[in-house]
């Protein structure tokens, strides 16, 4: 059993790209602003000409927590696990998980890169692992 994102017209392209192994961020076609999570209009220039830009997948751990007590039964056998706010090299921050490292070794500022993990049939989540 997994917890999977519900998708709307606005958010589905993000998850579709993840399924294809690409990390994308909403981009304003008018002024170039990158926004995550996506919005129905650009808050800077109010354009509704919005698309998606593939980003490098590189970033740093902006902050994190090691969860040792699950608050949902779906995560009961997953503790300890790491939730992180990752700041992408391109600027936007996104919530993700950190994999490929012991939870106790995660640090703020640590360089990370995206990896893709299929969590359910047809559903892939971007995760991050330490960058070499």
């Amino acid at each position: 059993m997994a917890i999977v994102p519900g998708m709307t017209k606005l958010t589905a392209p993000y998850w579709d790209a993840a399924r294809d192994g690409r990390l994308v961020v909403q981009e304003c076609r008018s002024c170039g602003r990158l926004t995550h999570p996506p919005l129905p209009a650009c808050p800077d220039c109010h354009s509704t000409e919005l698309g998606w830009r593939e980003v490098s997948g590189h970033g740093t751990v902006y902050t994190y927590t090691v969860v040792r007590h699950p608050t949902h039964f779906a995560f009961a056998d997953r503790v300890p696990y790491v939730i992180a706010l990752v700041e992408l090299a391109e600027g936007p921050r996104l919530i993700s998980g950190i994999t490929g490292i012991a939870p106790d070794e995660v640090r703020v500022g640590m360089p990370v890169r995206v990896v893709f993990r299929e969590v359910a049939d047809g559903v892939t989540l971007p995760y991050f692992e330490p960058a070499p």
Binding site: V4, H72, V123
Partner: protein, 403 residues
């Protein structure tokens, strides 16, 4: 542009009421709300039938509706009722709505209430069957998180509770301000233990008889690092309520009305409570202009505040609130806590009822009730001569009250 203060001294809290607070109470939230409101009206010296306004939190936080209460209490007619979103961040909002309503003449006697029955479902520490808006039945295959307020970008990673979110803030705070693990633990623990000591002297506090020492605090299990068990608030049943009326009417009802100097709301992009996508520095959840507006409308300065009740779903929140409301410099709140503390002899006693960590969790509303007691001079942990109190939430909803 200076705004003309619209509330200052024109509205007052004239009655307070509360039920017992406990992990599980037999009555339903509806029954608890009725009990607390009747107590508050009796304390105010008003007939509940004369109540003509109500303010409350939106669902799913508040499950007891105005309609249920009007029926159960035999209230003739409400002429004003309003709801505020964002859970605990509504603590200043409901005061603002009530005070604005009586100041504008929309209502005369406004009841503000909060009733919780977490034992019967709706535990804020659970994101599944037990939690408000919790996802799906057990064993039913994959759980699809409906996209609302960006939860679909958080829940699949197991970020599902306020405690986990504020662990992200606490970790960021320690990193930005270069705290060692020991310093972070000492800081959060000082807040938790100080509040427990207040609760030990508060007959209404759930933790009245439970001492908390350093060994127990630091040895408790990690819930979501760096937050340990005692850094997180209680989960409980209970209700509290208060009565807001015009200053003029208040003076006819009691000799000790507590005046509303200011009550403010604030909402800027991603600065909603738990707004993890705050642009710029995450720690700056609370726009500082909103704090300035609160004090400007109240017509007082930080030095005038005798006691503060800060919303504390976690111990991190009072720490950061000391900074964001301007009682300690940015990044110096932890030193302030370690050096001055928040206890009875500190420059600013904080959460003198024990707070959500040790009295009970009533979404900030028991902080308002405690502030009223402090200003009446009837608190268990009375701050001598308390004349002005601040009650504030971490993203900026707040009120300043005065006797």
């Amino acid at each position: 542009m200076t705004r003309r203060p619209v509330i200052r001294n024109t509205a007052a809290i004239v009655g307070i009421g509360q039920t017992a607070y406990a992990k599980a109470l037999e009555p339903t939230a509806w029954e608890l709300a009725v009990d607390a409101i009747l107590s508050a009206c009796a304390d105010a010296g008003v007939d509940v039938a004369d109540v003509d306004g109500m303010c409350r939190f939106t669902a799913p936080f508040e499950t007891v509706s105005e309609a249920m209460l009007v029926r159960a209490l035999g209230i003739r007619e409400l002429a004003f009722f309003a709801q505020a979103p964002h859970g605990g961040e509504a603590l200043g909002a409901v005061v603002a709505h009530a005070a604005a309503a009586v100041s504008a003449g929309l209502a005369n006697i406004v009841v503000v209430y909060r009733a919780l029955s977490q034992s019967k479902g709706g535990r804020f520490g659970r994101a599944d069957r037990g939690g408000p808006g919790g996802a799906a039945a057990e064993g039913a295959g994959d759980i699809v998180v409906p996209e609302q307020d960006n939860l679909s970008f958080a829940w699949p990673y197991g970020l599902m509770s306020p405690g986990q979110l504020f662990a992200l803030w606490a970790r960021r705070y320690a990193a930005v301000h270069h705290l060692t693990e020991e310093e972070l633990t000492r800081t959060l623990g000082t807040i938790a233990i100080t509040q427990r000591q207040y609760a030990n002297n508060n007959p209404a506090a759930m933790m009245r008889d439970r001492k908390l020492d350093w060994e127990t605090y630091a040895g408790a299990r990690m819930i979501s690092e760096p937050l340990r068990l005692f850094d997180l608030c209680l989960e409980n049943d209970g209700a509290c309520a208060f009565v807001v009326t015009s200053a003029e009417v208040a003076r006819t009802l009691r000799g000790d009305p507590v005046y509303v100097l200011a009550a403010t709301q604030t909402l800027a992009p991603y600065r909603e409570p738990m707004g993890i996508y705050v642009p710029g520095e995450l720690l700056e959840l609370f726009p500082s202009a909103a704090a300035d507006r609160l004090f400007e409308q109240a017509g007082v300065t930080r030095k005038d505040i005798d006691v503060a009740e800060f919303y504390d779903a976690t111990s991190y929140m009072p720490l950061r609130s000391l900074e964001s409301y301007g009682f300690a410099a940015d990044g110096q709140g932890w030193r302030y806590v370690l050096e001055q503390g928040t206890g009875p002899d500190s420059p600013l006693p904080v959460n003198t009822h024990g707070g959500h960590l040790s009295e009970a969790y009533l979404h900030g509303m028991n902080g308002i009730v405690e502030a009223v007691r402090q200003l009446r001079g009837t608190a268990s942990n009375q701050v001598a001569g308390a004349a002005v109190a601040l009650v504030g939430a971490p993203a900026g909803s707040a009120t300043i009250l005065a006797r």
